[in-house]
Assembly symmetry: C2
Homo-oligomer: 141 residues x 2
């Protein structure tokens, strides 16, 4: 099992196909944005992959931005392949993101997850994440 | 009353001082990141100001980033000066951010706000924002 931060240089068509298939396990219907677009230099997003025998079995993304309240990271699109669950891959992906966050000097990491996603919530709280007394609101444009 | 998108070219020390004082009305204790840092070209954050007679009386920030799930905007640091509340400035700031979001092609705008902030929640839902069935989790680094 290896972990790597994807870059435009290491992005291949095979990786894109594998990540797209993996993401469908999280959300089968969403229109997906391409890794090419995500890895564009103007977009401050770190794409972390977990591979087993060169197959992508886990992904996690960290977007970073500075606002008055702080230098923040937002975690999105965390998926572990169904066949690979229970091996601690989600935890290892998150620990790697936390490690990277400390390296670049983030003040805090944020994420949101559905109230019904009990295993995900258990993972995040085990890592020290705390539920904020806030609601998340969204508007489709 | 005028609205303007702040840039490094229009940022002055006076604006920084006014914004810092205004932000304290939202959170008096937070260490603040500077507008200089926020307006850096690598940071994709739009800073919207509302001015009355050249005094900054309202601010709202929109950070944008692309992940697999979409091209998203996160709204932060929305503050209207105490003396200017009830004049619809918050709504105008948000409408302007929504207009800019449409212009740049965002898929959706997200924001989070404390469950106790009833006037803010009323404003956001009046604009079409919907409460997601998700919890917001954070980890200080």
């Amino acid at each position: 099992m290896t972990f790597e931060i994807l870059t435009l240089d290491t992005l291949t068509n095979e990786v894109q196909v594998q990540v797209a298939a993996l993401y469908k396990q999280l959300n089968a219907d969403n229109k997906q944005r391409s890794l090419q677009e995500i890895l564009h230099s103007k977009n401050n997003v770190l794409v972390l992959l977990c591979k087993v025998d060169s197959a992508v079995v886990g992904i996690a993304l960290l977007s970073t931005y500075t606002v008055i309240s702080g230098f923040r990271g937002m975690v999105d699109d965390v998926v572990v392949d169904r066949s690979q669950r229970g091996k601690g891959i989600g935890k290892k992906l998150m620990n790697k993101l936390i490690e990277e966050s400390a390296k670049i000097g983030l003040d805090e990491i944020l994420l949101f997850t559905g109230h019904h996603r009990k295993p995900a919530i258990a993972l995040y709280t085990s890592l020290g994440f705390e539920l904020r007394k806030s609601g998340l609101y969204s508007l489709k444009i």
